[in-house]
Amino acid sequence: MRATQFSWREGRAWDRVSADDLRADLVLYFGSRQALDDGRRYDELRAMFPRAHLVGCSTGGQISGGDLTDDAVAATALSFDATRLRVACAPAQGSDCSRTCGRTIGRALADDGLAGVFVLSDGLTVNGSELVAGIMQEIGAAIPVSGGLAGDGAQFERTLVGADCAPGPGTVAAVGFYGRAVRIGHGSAGGWDEFGPRRSITRSQGNVLHELDGRPALDLYMRYLGEEAAKGLPGTALLFPLKVFDPDRPEHDIVRTVLSVDHDNGTMTFAGDLPQGWTAQLMRGSFDRLAQGAGDAARQAADGLNGSRGDKVAVLVSCIGRRLLMGQRTLDEIEAVGTEFGPDVAQIGFYSYGEISPHWQTGLSELHNQTMTVTTLAEAAG
């Protein structure tokens, strides 16, 4: 496999790439909503890479190499020696249809030799849990699904996704990797610490949370954020993700983060389900612990690179909540991942509204929030 990273910056156009790279099979690109919204970046890429699948989305910040930018478009061109690809794209009209959308994607990709799926989804209108469940329903639980939900900085207004077309809202795109040569690794970790009492989810509907311990959940969040920060909702709610788990299976916990709030109804919409009767506990992060978590995720994913030859790529999908909390210290976690991989592994990625990866314990693919997830891509020797 051959991988080349390049980028676009306001006023500087795209970096130059070699003629070999222009024959790449797949270009992954991540940019700010503002940079991608008019479709010109896609057209430029299409012109540059006539035979490549172009798959990208809007973000809450792009990771390229060891760097983090807000206004650039980060891209990587991948040329495979022995791996076939298939791209699928489907509209996602509202979170009620997320499972259907997932099944459409899954059906399109399900085929002999499918080794893994990388999925990018609209970050605001899709229930990520249902989407992943729909894909797995069609391709089977054994095939890893990773990726993330597109972002919109800290605005939470519009997110864009595209596969072989200009990125747009309400879209889910996925790439399937086929064949025995491809090596895909996964890692996912949070580094958040629980705090405060455990609370019971007393009223919820899918990914909409109404009450914790019989009281409006939004009130609790506003109290913790303080008057000033409450004005920044829903973005500021990312500072306090929720750890949720089935009281009967407390070891299988999931972190959930807020996508939107409804002040009129006192509800909060999360990026995944919060089943009624489950237990929830607030979490908070410290700079060091979050960076440590990112390192853990890289370490898990590094296993996937064993026995590979040629270039290696790590796709980092980290949560916008982590970035909001860490500020300038965000680079600490990108550095922590880089430290784990060393200079041989090229890094690209973005800050998302939700991460998709197999659970580190169960191995079942699902939606994560507030984590750093790492997907490594490479091809085997020979």
Binding site: F195, G196, P197, A229, R284, Q328, D332
Partner: protein, 639 residues
């Protein structure tokens, strides 16, 4: 070279321009932003910690409140439990039943006071945790258990494991009986309750005894008798027999009627005792009711054994009973059936013995008879006769014949004795000896007697005025309280003067006389009715009966007249009677005079009247007239 903070290093790198110079404004902004972020993070941390502390404090208070509430609830529950325990304790220790409760390890949980009292134990002896075996050992030491504790426990524990409910009756060494119920409990333990049913058992036994024994004599009743027969007959060995002796007291009814029921009861009790004393202990004496008893003799090899027993009974019963100032003699008649020859079922044996008893009675009482198969036929005939007899009166089958009595001085007819005849539509004329006992037995003798007096008076009123009417009264009629009114009515209806009526009674009628009987006779006599002593000389106390009442006439029994020729005894007796009568102012009638010689002898011996075939057989009313028309002459031929 100084080591800079990683962040500051990055800020320096970001602030460095392409030419390598540092943009201080940019660096300042970055540093300042980093401070702001750090401050914000600290504030956020402080705030969240404060909130968490507050929240945890609230939670803590909530939990404390909850603990207080629960503690209060627990205390209330504890108090309730205590009260419940007191009530439970009171209920447990005031039960009439004794109770033990064991846990699944077969260790004692509870023993109530009643248990301790019942089995003479103290609470210290059987503390909670005791095994059943230990408790039973304690009971054995206290003398309230005489089983083997270990073998009972070995039986009980596996039975309880199979969830069986066990009931048993336990007889205590001191004679008490306990009903024990042992039931497994759902938790693997078990409960044992003990009820003292000694009194109930006794009552049951008493009831069972009463159901099988005669209240008055304490002898087995017919129920037990039947049971014993049912057991004894099949148990007979080869060549062995069993005898059923059915006996009743002759004339018991008369005694009962005259001396009262209380006396009758005392007599029955005495008779029962006497019977019991004669019979072997292994033989049964039962009372069937009334004056009827049954003796079952077992182990008979020879019939002689039964004959001997029957004779012994007759002999023993013949001895006078001295009761409450009275001396009475009762005799028994006995009918005997033998098993297996005369039947094997109790009913057959009793019925056949009863038939034999009737036979014995018919043959003169105070005797015994073995059952013979043709007795049954005769009994049936007798039964049919009884049925026919009930209709005889209403269907006009009775008729009166009259036999004249004549004065020995002048052969003049002085009176005619009414004699009852029954013209059976099929069997023809049936003699009074045959049907009178049956009439007495079936209780229509009074009605027949009333008819006789009425009819006889109506007949006699048409006779010559100097011819009297003689009517026999049976002992039963004599004792009838209506006797006087029956006679007075007959006289009134017919118009026959009382002085023309003579009633004849036998000695036996006076044997058990009462004041009422004598008063009735005196009343009749005062009305002018003549009273004759009939069949004089055949009873046991003829002379003493003459003293008991002033008779008008003595009729000397035919047996004396008929043996006049053969023996001197009769001569002496007739002469003595006639002399006695003359001195007491009584008429003497010689009965059964059939020959001239007899007539001459009785006249010579002082008799004043005679009656017999020499003068006339009893004849129908219409055939009487010639006797009245012509003076009866001694012609030497009977009419």
């Amino acid at each position: 070279m100084i080591t800079v903070h990683k962040l500051f290093g990055r800020q320096l790198a970001q602030a460095r321009a392409a030419d390598g110079t540092i943009d201080l404004d940019a660096l300042g902004a970055l540093v300042s932003q980093a401070y702001a972020e750090s401050d914000e993070d600290r504030r956020r941390t402080d705030r969240s910690i404060a909130l968490m502390v507050d929240e945890l404090d609230q939670l803590n208070r909530h939990l404390e409140r909850l603990v207080e509430e629960r503690t209060a609830a627990l205390r209330a529950r504890e108090a309730e439990l205590k009260a419940q325990n007191v009530r439970f304790d009171a209920a447990l220790n005031n039960m009439t039943q004794a109770l033990l409760m064991f846990d699944a390890e077969h260790r004692l949980l509870i023993a109530n006071n009643r248990y301790l009292d019942m089995y003479k134990l103290t609470r210290d002896q059987i503390p909670p945790g005791s095994t059943l075996e230990h408790i039973l050992e304690c009971r054995r030491a206290a003398g309230t258990y005489f089983g083997d504790p270990k073998s009972f426990t070995d039986y009980l524990i596996p039975a309880l494991a199979e969830r069986k409910v066990i009931t048993r009756f336990s007889e205590l060494p001191d004679g008490r009986t306990m009903f024990i119920l042992i039931q497994p409990l759902p938790d693997g333990g078990w409960i044992s309750t003990h009820q003292d049913i000694t009194e109930r058992r006794r009552a049951e036994q008493q009831i069972a005894y009463m159901a099988q024994h005669d209240f008055l004599t304490n002898l087995p009743n017919r129920v037990l008798l039947r049971e014993r027969l049912e057991q004894a007959v099949p148990a007979l060995c080869e060549g062995e027999q069993l005898a059923v002796l059915y006996l009743d007291l002759d004339h018991f009814k008369t005694i009962n009627d005259t001396l009262g029921h209380h006396f009758g009861d005392e007599l029955l009790k005495a008779a029962a005792l006497r019977l019991r004393s004669i019979v072997k202990a292994c033989d049964t004496v039962a009372r069937m009711g009334g004056d009827e008893f049954v003796v079952v003799q077992t182990g008979i090899r020879r019939m002689q054994q039964t004959t001997a027993l029957a004779q012994r009974i007759c002999e023993a019963m013949r001895q006078p009973f001295d009761l409450e100032g009275h001396t009475v003699v009762v005799e028994v008649s006995i009918g005997i059936s033998l098993a297996p020859g005369d039947g094997q079922a109790p009913n057959d044996l009793l019925k056949n013995a009863d038939i034999a008893l009737y036979r014995a009675k018919a043959e003169g009482r105070s005797t015994f008879r073995f059952f013979e198969p043709d007795m049954d036929t005769r009994m049936k005939a007798r039964h049919e006769l009884a049925i026919a007899l009930r209709h005889a009166l209403t269907e006009g089958q009775f008729e009166l014949h009259y036999q004249p009595l004549v004065a020995l001085s002048d052969q003049r007819v002085t009176a005619c004795e009414a004699l009852l005849r029954w013209n059976h539509p099929v069997r023809g004329q049936i003699p009074p000896d045959t049907f009178i006992p049956i009439a007495e037995e079936i209780g229509i003798i009074a009605a027949i007697g009333e008819w006789v007096i009425g009819k006889a008076c109506a007949d006699a009123v048409r006779w010559p005025h100097d011819v009297k009417l003689a009517v026999n009264l049976s002992p039963i009629q004599v004792m009838n309280p209506n006797l006087v009114s029956v006679i007075v009515r007959a006289l009134a209806v017919s118009g026959l003067p009382a002085t023309r009526l003579e009633i004849e009674i036998t000695e036996s009628a006076l044997l058990h006389h009462t004041d009422a009987t004598l008063a009735a006779l005196h009343r009749l006599r005062s009305l002018g009715v003549g009273i004759s002593m009939d069949d004089f000389g055949t009873g046991y106390s003829s002379l003493s009966s003459l003293r008991s009442f002033p008779f008008n006439k003595i009729k000397i029994d035919r047996c004396f007249v008929q043996s006049l020729v053969d023996g001197d005894d009769s001569v002496a007796i007739i002469e003595a009677i006639a002399g006695l009568a003359k001195s007491l102012g009584m008429i003497t009638t010689a009965e059964g005079v059939e020959t001239l010689e007899q007539m001459n002898r009785v006249r010579a011996l002082g008799c004043t009247e005679m009656q017999g075939y020499l003068i006339s057989r009893p004849r129908p009313l219409n055939d009487l007239w010639p006797l009245f028309a012509t003076e009866c002459r001694r012609t030497g031929t009977a009419d």
